[in-house]
């Protein structure tokens, strides 16, 4: 295709705007729910719903093809991180079977200005990213599990997001694609 990489990031916004908006959302949810775990769960759901829409945007703007192995998938998610969050995570910690890997983020724009108060230490603040990854991959017929292993907000050096491949959704693959 004639599409060049030049078009990919046309509209840029200050990452602080995203950080603040997301912060406002989470703060409101913490107020609305009694339970911190519920908030984490809702954030994941929210992410999932974003992911199933965002994937189309990613595919339309990058014109990538279908992934044939998980390494390929990891690379593409990495480029999606750059497109949507402006950071490039490292892909690391591959499992021996090659069905699990981690994204290591040394800076995470959505937690940049955030400190977690003691009473909600259990909150998975970036759970939205896990949801987005799961939702987006589900639309291209990959069933994955995604969770946070390390979190800078909880004193770890990096943020680590783990992705585990579960199966290909064979029956959901559109005709002419399988």
């Amino acid at each position: 295709m004639s599409r060049s990489t030049a078009r990919i990031d046309v509209k840029k916004v200050n990452s602080e705007l995203v950080t603040l908006t997301y912060g406002a959302l989470v703060a409101q949810m913490v107020k609305d729910f009694d339970n911190v775990d519920d908030v984490s769960k809702q954030l994941e759901r929210l992410g999932y719903n974003m992911g199933i829409r965002l994937i189309e945007d990613y595919l339309a703007k990058t014109a990538t093809g279908r992934c044939l192995d998980l390494k390929d998938t990891a690379d593409k998610i990495q480029s999606a991180f750059r497109m949507y969050l402006g950071v490039q995570p490292n892909v690391a910690n591959w499992s021996p079977a090659g069905d699990e890997f981690s994204f290591i983020l040394d800076t995470n724009p959505i937690t940049e200005l955030v400190e977690l108060p003691e009473e909600i230490k259990g909150l998975k603040y970036c759970n939205i990213i896990c949801g987005v990854i799961r939702g987006a991959l589900e639309m291209v017929q990959l069933d994955v599990q995604c969770w946070i292993v390390q979190d800078q907000l909880k004193g770890d050096a990096n943020t680590e997001i783990r992705v585990k491949f579960i199966r290909r959704l064979e029956d959901a693959i559109p005709a002419g694609e399988d």
């Binding site: 295709m1 004639s2 078009r7 199933i52 189309e56 945007d57």
Partner: protein, 217 residues
């Protein structure tokens, strides 16, 4: 250089968007004397020309009005039956208006879901494994171009046979879909797209393609 229409079919095969673009309107009006020298018949809730093509009235054209009064089905607006009116000598000379039949929304939905299995069958019939479905379907008056996204949504464009740059146009429509339909929080997936921004932007792109033959993105 004409694009006739754009269709989007969802993953499950339902028509979620269609746009008729630039279909030239063909209407012919003529005064007839008794007896009528073209054969009309009633089929699919339309009175159409069966035989006797002349003066721009073609076989398959539909009777739209009699003496300026619109025809719906086989009835005139004042309740009279079309066939009876045309058989009565006293009504002549009479002025009849014919035109190309327009597809109703129901027929469009029907045809769109018909394309879905055709696409799947094509990929199964293929002598090569891992074949795609139908990408181009060519007839003597038009070409249908189909692009299926990785998520299973199909974008289809009906265009003139010589219209160039449809591949890029299809990708551009996909971009518009991801921007103006999917990023609209009030649009739910798999539902018909009723987004004004999507419509206006799509029309802009189509005009650009028709004018220049290509898209300069």
């Amino acid at each position: 250089m004409v694009i006739y229409g754009v269709y989007i079919v969802s993953k499950s095969g339902g028509l979620i968007f269609n746009l008729d673009h630039n279909v030239p309107k063909i209407e012919t009006e003529k005064t007839f004397s008794y007896p009528l020298d073209i054969k009309l018949h009633y089929e699919n809730k339309r009175v159409s020309v069966e035989f006797g093509q002349r003066d721009g009235i073609h076989v398959g054209h539909v009777l739209q009005a009699i003496n300026g009064m619109p025809v719906s089905g086989r009835q005139l607006d004042d309740g009279r039956d079309v066939m009876e009116v045309l058989q009565n000598k006293e009504n002549f000379p009479i002025n009849l208006q014919f035109g190309r039949p327009k597809m109703t929304t129901n027929e469009k939905i029907f045809l769109a879901s018909m394309f879905y299995p055709l696409f799947a069958i094509a990929s199964q019939l293929s002598p090569e494994p891992k074949s795609s479905g139908i990408e181009v379907l060519e007839a003597d008056t038009f070409k249908l171009h189909c692009f299926q996204t990785l998520t299973g949504v199909k974008m289809m464009v009906l265009a003139d046979r010589i219209q160039a740059g449809i591949d890029i146009l299809l990708r551009r429509i996909y971009e518009l879909y991801s921007d103006y339909a999917l990023k609209n929080p009030f649009y739910s997936l798999e539902m018909p797209i009723r987004c004004e921004l999507f419509d206006t932007n799509l029309k802009l792109v189509l005009e650009q393609v028709e004018k220049t033959g290509t898209l300069t993105v």
